[in-house]
């Protein structure tokens, strides 16, 4: 649909793209409005999971009865993001492809390796109190701002897309590319691909799940740290667990190392802290965001403790 035009962009709710057009970060030659496409349904998937069309709005997703019943972590994550107005506009596909809110990225007068490859990263020595502690590089320390994506990552969502050559699918864990030396290359989607749906596999564990977000005011702000977690306990032992972090990396961060420590271990604050530490040993904080390591450790312990209490009920 973009006719191979690299200067064309798909327009969903516009809550990020229109903003970036005003500041000059994005200068598309053409816009293709995808919201009238028949991609606005939430329906059961053949495997018992849930298929969410790419133009479903955040509001409709969070209000959907099946999401609220079976995947509460996802409903909570969506409701924790933005405002009622923005959730009415924003779409699921657009949410995954939104850009970082790093102030140097959005200021076209600043160098930024993500916006202008090779121009440098002022955040390394500048304002970085809300930048990445995991998976970053010396070329970029920006974070991915999505709340929804953190829950989708914990739930092993699959991302379907369409290209001129036909459809394709990626596990969400493979959607975002490592930062490395190419922070301007953000996703593994082929050029011109349109996200058409996000599919959640059946996840009984997700019935006991939650999203907790820490931010600098009570509502309507991006996270400085967040945790999406789902926990299934059997006789006090962790049978299954899903854990993902937000606002700490260039992508929603699946905490596989923590999950390995948790699986098969007795539920309790000590286990939860050990799991958090296992994940956070990889943290490389900057001079002014080291607080995030402590914050994430405490968040993991708190959220898992709440879920363990819930499971014991």
């Amino acid at each position: 649909m973009l006719d191979g035009d690299p200067d064309a962009r798909f327009l969903g709710g516009g809550t990020n793209l229109v903003d970036l057009m005003k500041t000059g970060v994005e200068r598309p030659a053409r816009l293709v409005d995808v919201r009238e496409l028949p991609l606005n349904r939430v329906e059961s998937a053949p495997d018992g999971g849930l298929r969410i069309g790419a133009t479903v709005t955040n509001s409709d997703l969070a209000a959907h009865p099946e999401v609220r019943r079976r995947y509460p972590v996802l409903a909570q994550a969506v409701l924790a993001g933005a405002s009622g107005q923005l959730r009415n506009m924003a779409t699921v596909g657009g949410n995954l492809l939104q850009r970082t809110r790093c102030g140097y990225f959005t200021d076209v007068d600043s160098p930024c390796n993500k916006r202008v490859p090779g121009s440098g990263c002022p955040a390394l020595t500048g304002e970085h109190h809300n930048h990445a502690i995991l998976g970053a590089s010396g070329h970029c320390v920006a974070t991915h701002p999505s709340d929804m994506g953190v829950a989708l990552t914990a739930l092993d969502a699959r991302v379907s897309y369409e290209t001129a050559d036909g459809p394709g699918e990626l596990p969400i864990a493979d959607l975002y590319l490592p930062v490395g030396e190419t922070p301007h290359r953000e996703t593994a989607l082929p050029q011109g691909a349109l996200i058409t749906a996000v599919t959640l596999p059946p996840a009984p564990t997700a019935a006991n799940s939650r999203y907790r977000k820490v931010r600098e005011r009570a509502s309507y702000a991006f996270a400085i740290g967040s945790v999406a977690a789902a926990l299934d306990l059997r006789d006090g032992v962790v049978h299954d667990v899903r854990l993902a972090f937000g606002a700490v990396a260039s992508r929603p961060w699946r905490a596989f190392a923590a999950e390995r420590v948790l699986t098969g271990a007795p539920a309790g604050a000590d286990t939860f802290a050990a799991a958090a530490d296992a994940e956070l040993t990889a943290a490389r904080p900057l001079p002014r965001n080291g607080y995030k390591v402590t914050l994430m450790r405490n968040l993991v312990v708190a959220v898992l403790s709440e879920l363990a209490e819930e499971a014991a009920r």
Partner: protein
């Protein structure tokens, strides 16, 4: 494929049709204020961060600063000029007047449009981040001050009139028949609050051809 960077379009605002030619990059906010002289909708930050430009699109609250006018064609826009019933104020407007839900008034049109939608969203059973029990069976939560504050958090007020704004929204919600806090929540069926009442804007796209393209 059109290569012109402007288009003729028809906007439907407060029940009236307006035909105008716009640059494709024109926001709905600028079209309303600069072209249609509907200046009730206010420009605050112009970045989707303050809510002063809140309007209803097919009954759903949206910020007009982040919506392109061309993308609003075919949808029913309601601005603060259109929420009253003739000379009879909307219950939300009356409550803001009666309870001093403002000081300077600049954010007020956005607050009012937002509150109109908040009351509908709540009645339709939509949860918020302040809702303890998300299960649909739990029904709409009581519209407590905490719920109102969370649901209205997309509308900033630099004067800090929040205390009165929360009271005004609560009173208007009661007038609308919504469960006030402390009383038992009624179990409303899940509906799509806004779209259901705007039959004029319903479209059923059949194929990929439904995508609209604009040169910018």
């Amino acid at each position: 494929m059109a290569s012109s960077t402007s288009s003729d379009l028809t906007l439907s605002v407060n029940g009236e049709k307006y035909t105008l030619t716009v640059d494709h990059r024109t926001t709905l906010l600028d079209a309303l204020r600069e072209r249609l002289d509907l200046t009730g909708t206010k420009k605050g930050c112009d970045q989707g961060q303050c809510g002063a430009c809140t309007v209803l699109v097919d009954g759903r609250r949206s910020v007009a600063c982040l919506q392109l006018a061309v993308a609003a064609e075919g949808h029913e826009i309601t601005t603060v000029e259109g929420v009253a019933d003739g000379d009879r104020l909307h219950p939300v407007q009356q409550a803001f007047l009666d309870l001093d839900g403002f000081q300077c008034g600049y954010c007020t049109p956005g607050q009012i449009c937002s509150a109109v939608a908040v009351i509908e969203e709540h009645a339709a059973g939509w949860p918020s981040a302040a809702t303890a029990d998300l299960r649909p069976e739990a029904g709409p939560p009581p519209l407590t001050p905490e719920e109102i504050r969370e649901r209205m958090s997309g509308n900033l007020c630099r004067c800090g009139a929040y205390v009165s704004i929360v009271q005004a929204v609560a009173r208007a919600a009661e007038a609308n028949g919504a469960a006030a806090w402390g009383s038992s929540a009624t179990t409303a069926p899940m509906t799509s609050p806004a779209r259901s009442r705007c039959s004029t804007a319903t479209r059923t796209p059949a194929s990929w051809a439904a995508a609209r393209t604009w040169s910018t």
